[in-house]
Symmetry: C2
Subunit: 327 residues, 2 copies
DNA sequence: CGCTCAATGGAAAACGCTTTCCAAAGATCG
DNA sequence: CGATCTTTGGAAAGCGTTTTCCATTGAGCG
């Protein structure tokens, strides 16, 4: 029994190996507790089964839900996923992509909003080009600015529809709690919301847009600023659900009733947050499925070599947090 | 300029390379977009910088928060983490450990409750032994049954303390929503809770323990069963927060007021769930820090070769969901 | 019965690195 | 000024696989 034979039976080669010999190999491997060194295999084969995934913050349910979708199809595709949580730091993202390239990963899924930072975007694009040129596939869940296959949530359109729906309910005086300045997802949602309001004959002054971190605490603080600086609006739109939940907490702490005194709406429809009270008006995104789609794109190359962009439309969900009661 | 020299400057060798030569290498690498093949390096060096992490469900905030802690220290330790989400399937867990061994990972962090399944536990223990014997380090966040370093939340003690606290508030008639039957974390919490009640002179009949999936929906359903099958208890203890939230939703849907009609308590103090209403009484676990500790154990071997077990005590937090109002 | 061909085993080259070992060239020193 | 160190560069061996290429064997067939 030679190394070649052993490799053939253990490595899933196409070559047929005789029955007795195959059994002998298996038996020996079992006895020795031997298992092939995947790194060596990767070197020899020139390809690995690694898929890189980057998220901004794995503890944020938005990302963890999408990641769960990605990992699910990665699992069925027998891929090993390397994950990193970048704290939305573009340099860390870039560095991870470089590591994945060094690791000769087969695919890369970048989950999360792109930024307005042109330098960072250019650098990333350059790094990705090298990655793809050597045969790697990359997919982005976010904005289509990298020139790679992307699963693109329709943030502007969703926010626009939400604005119209809220205006349709009779809300007139809005405040929006935006995310951090450079984040495209936040910007797109604010812009879309503004368009929706304009369509309804409502203007949203810049002074009514308060930015803050994309987190629960960010929402809490932004809501506090809104409360302090203005005559109370009738409706607060937080650009994502976790900020909305923070806002709810702040309003509650300040003795402002939702939705009686002021309405609140969010974005994403995070599953974990479906049970907050009052139930949050929001625009629902199929987070888990988005992850699945991204992973599938990453695993299956395009037939023609074209870039694929899958738009994901959000569904406006008016729930109790924006209900019109008395007022 | 030879390959050896290039390797020395790019690979961070201890050998000194002359300045001009080093610069030349860097320049060439930059021009060619070259980056060393980490797999080949791992083969040559006989060790890699991979850390494997397994969780039951990455979309569950309990796991994602711990994982965030793990990844944070993994990042500072320049480790690449491979993550898998097993759906609490012991076979998948075992398979992943095997893959990590094949990958020659340096460390492995197993996050999540062990089960009562003796066969699965034995198999895993055997696989882990092979892994450690070849130099890998493994850490478990959960019960100390694998014979490896473990970060051990004091589930029984926490639940006992919670039971006492609730009994101290005057609650007498309890129902507990347990997790799936074989899950140790669930069992430990139920058992501890029972002890705490006994200490307070209260008996918890088996009929008052309803098991169900460890999820929001599991909590919802279990609460429904509790409501249907019994005269309403005065206090419902769900063995984790996400089930408690499901229970809250079910109670709300059934028109049962919390805490006026029935109190509710959970376990974990999930950050994402801190804003549910009414605020959940629970026992707080430092999830993120637990992840950090686990990763640190995984990266630094014990001085003596002893097994290290770090007990993590939970802190009882009585909030409004269990407040005694009128009644 | 000799020939061709399919099936299967093994030797050895290749994958892309690291590292040991040797060599050459200065530097140091008595 | 020659001998001995100390640097630093390069050749080559080694890491653990896969895979190509050849060799052997036995079956099938006219």
């Amino acid at each position: 029994m030679s190394l070649a034979t052993a490799s053939r039976v253990l490595g899933g080669s196409t070559r047929v190996v005789g029955d007795e010999l195959r059994d002998a190999v298996h038996k020996a491997a079992a006895e020795l507790g031997y298992s092939a060194n995947l790194q060596a295999r990767a070197v020899a084969r020139g390809t690995s089964d690694t898929m890189g995934v980057v998220v901004h913050d794995i503890a944020d349910p938005y990302f963890s839900t999408i990641a769960a979708g990605v990992m699910d199809v990665a699992y069925t595709g027998k891929m090993v996923v390397s994950l990193t949580s970048t704290s939305a730091d573009t340099d860390r993202e870039l560095a991870f992509v470089a590591v994945m390239r060094a690791q000769r990963a087969r695919a890369l899924v970048l989950i999360g909003s792109r930024t307005d930072n042109a330098r960072a975007t250019d650098e990333l694009r350059a790094e990705l080009r090298i990655f793809t040129r050597s045969g790697g596939r990359v997919v982005c869940v976010g904005q289509d600015v990298l020139g790679v296959d992307t699963v693109r949530p329709q943030n502007a359109e969703g926010a626009r529809d939400l604005a119209k729906a809220l205006a349709g309910q009779g809300h007139r005086d809005f405040v929006v709690l935006a995310g951090p300045p450079g984040l495209r997802t936040a910007n797109d949602r604010v812009a879309g919301f503004r368009v929706g309001l304009a369509d309804s004959g409502i203007e949203l002054p810049d002074s009514a847009v308060i930015s803050g971190p994309f987190t629960r605490d960010g929402g809490y603080e932004a809501a506090g600023i809104a409360l302090a600086s203005r005559t109370t609006p009738t409706c607060v739109f937080a650009v994502n659900d976790v900020m909305a939940v923070g806002a709810l907490a702040c309003l509650r702490a300040s003795g402002v009733a939702v939705p009686d005194d002021v309405a609140v709406a969010g974005f994403d429809d995070i599953p974990t947050l479906q049970d907050v009270t009052p139930p949050l008006s929001t625009v629902a995104l199929p987070l888990f499925r988005m992850g699945e789609m991204a992973a599938r794109l990453a695993l299956r190359p395009a037939d023609d070599d074209q870039q694929r962009v899958v738009p994901i439309s959000g569904q406006v969900l008016l729930r109790q947090s924006s209900a019109i009661t008395r007022r």
